[in-house]
Symmetry: C2
Subunit: 345 residues, 2 copies
């Protein structure tokens, strides 16, 4: 049995202090990351360059000593692998074309090349397992089908995913066909990451928060369950963390009905609820507001302390409620990590 | 005691069928509204023109026979009254300048002219009380301080209100000064609407959903409570509906600790929760997904039926989970209203 701290937390062991890693811990807030990006190439080129992707994955591990590294990649490698064109514009975010908005549009997606397209990502995972310090876990990840579909349908990030939600209402059969494609590709992609060496998986449903309960059940819970069932058929023991961001009152349903081992809490989730309703059943992760790390100092540390005290040293992983934002001062991250590592229950 | 259906629902009476009105029932989806807008003038000019604002408020009442009219206005008349410049761009949404982001910036806000600036809105309310059919209620409204502040700080609508949240973390005393200004002006504005004839008030906290629990308590619950206390000191009986959109697990706290008489549910709120935890304590309103009204037909009516059956004819107001969107076919609204009016428990 691995003695890596994050794996022990996922097994429910009582620890001296919880493990710590932060979503989007590799990225634009780090000067060494910006230096890699300044060498040129698109953002997706970086995701498909094993040496460079491994390097930026390792940067925050060297600098801050996190307990886990998360593969550097993007949730939109999936539509890209399916031949939808994906571009990243610094100020606009991702742009996808052509839009997938009808049964007919589904024919534009090419499934046969997807596996080969994603091979460089598995290479990155292999390099990372060779290069990571032996006490640091490697987390693989993918976007959840609903979140990925919302980009594929709208062609961009959108405030309330109206285009995808409307299509799902108007033609649920066709929308389900898109979701089934994504379920297949995503399950294979995650299995490939585990084969290459990922020790834990996280599924990001970043736009789970705009769906009414029936739609949430159908497009968030059911797809996650199917993906997890497929992964478990190959790797029965692999720990899987789910992140239904913004799901609010539906968080508990997601925690109980998808088959996940741990759930990542966004910053709006009340800790009393997490402690009473989630933590007795699975490991929870979260949920410091990323803006508090921009803020730093006493304001950040007081809230980190409150979270640590409430959630304790068992069945808990310290993290943010969402990804680190680009304007975050790296020294605040250093202070936060040091604080968590020195904390004792 | 008024026998108007909406007032009876707010008093908790058991009815034959629940009252129905829809958020943003006056607006761009109606050709008669677009005809008024086509005559020229800015969006705010319309809000400050009593004859025109009354006319567009009455349009959906004539066309659909709603049980309530809601004053046609905008939550951003408050920053406008405080001398922050507010413009509405069709494609971009509202733009405000200069930005209010520091203690020093607060000096840019001019309180003394605010009351006079809002007089035309009270004129609209007076006209509406004269012109509305006698069985139709008139609802006045305002944006909640947190939501209005998020626009004042960012200068626009923003996905997660990061600018306002960051300022509130970095300098909570200064941010509280902005909130206190908004609490004062909003309370006076709502009292003015009741004096002019509004029979019910709704407070829209459209961006309540991005706040961690401590911030939600401080910037959503406390300000609503203060505003309601002030209104009740003048009008002890006026029914007040709160709408903390997206508040998820914090909905119940808002319902119980602000002093509201009714709570408006966004479309993500599970009905079982609403029935068990909210409805025993206060009247609930909602929560059909506005995109289902774009969709129309059986898909829309099945969900409307489910909501009606779950929530029943007592302590319930049929509405959407958010405002009608511009691409909504008016005939779908007609079908929905007719369906609710013919429904029987």
């Amino acid at each position: 049995m691995s003695q890596k701290l994050l794996l022990r937390a996922l097994r429910g062991e009582k620890l001296q202090r919880p493990p710590v890693w932060l979503m989007r811990q590799a990225g634009r807030y780090l000067p060494e990351y910006r230096a890699v990006r300044a060498k040129g190439g698109s953002f997706l080129d970086l995701c498909y360059s094993p040496e460079l992707a491994a390097e930026v994955t390792l940067q925050p591990i060297r600098r801050f000593g996190f307990d886990a590294a998360i593969l550097f990649s993007d949730i939109l490698v999936i539509p890209d692998a399916l031949s939808q064109q994906v571009r990243f514009e610094e100020s606009l975010g991702p742009l996808l074309s052509p839009l997938i908005q009808s049964r007919k549009d589904l024919a534009l997606l090419k499934l046969e090349g997807a596996a080969a397209h994603l091979m460089p990502v598995y290479e990155t995972v292999k390099l990372l397992r060779q290069r990571l310090p032996e006490d640091v876990c490697l987390i693989g990840f993918a976007g959840a089908p609903w979140t990925v579909a919302s980009y594929m349908v709208a062609g961009e990030g959108s405030r309330d995913q109206a285009a995808a939600r409307l299509w799902a209402y108007q033609d649920p059969q066709a929308f389900a066909m898109l979701m089934d494609i994504l379920i297949d590709v995503t399950a294979e992609y995650l299995i490939g990451q585990v084969k290459a060496g990922a020790e834990i998986l996280q599924i990001f449903d970043s736009w789970a928060g705009a769906l009414p309960e029936g739609e949430f059940q159908r497009w968030c819970i059911e797809p996650a369950k199917k993906i997890i069932t497929r992964i478990r058929a190959v790797f029965p023991e692999i720990p899987i963390i789910g992140f239904p961001k913004g799901a609010g009152l539906l968080y508990e349903d997601y925690a109980l009905h998808t088959g996940i081992d741990a759930i990542s809490m966004d910053s709006t989730l009340p800790l009393q609820f997490a402690r009473e309703r989630l933590q007795p059943k699975l490991t929870v992760q979260g949920n410091l507001d990323p803006l508090l790390v921009v803020c730093g100092g006493k304001t950040m540390l007081q809230e980190a302390e409150r979270i640590l005290t409430m959630m304790g040293p068992q069945r808990f992983i310290f993290n943010l409620g969402h990804g680190i934002v680009p304007q975050t001062p790296p020294e605040n991250v250093a202070q936060l990590v040091q604080f968590v590592k020195q904390w004792q229950a």
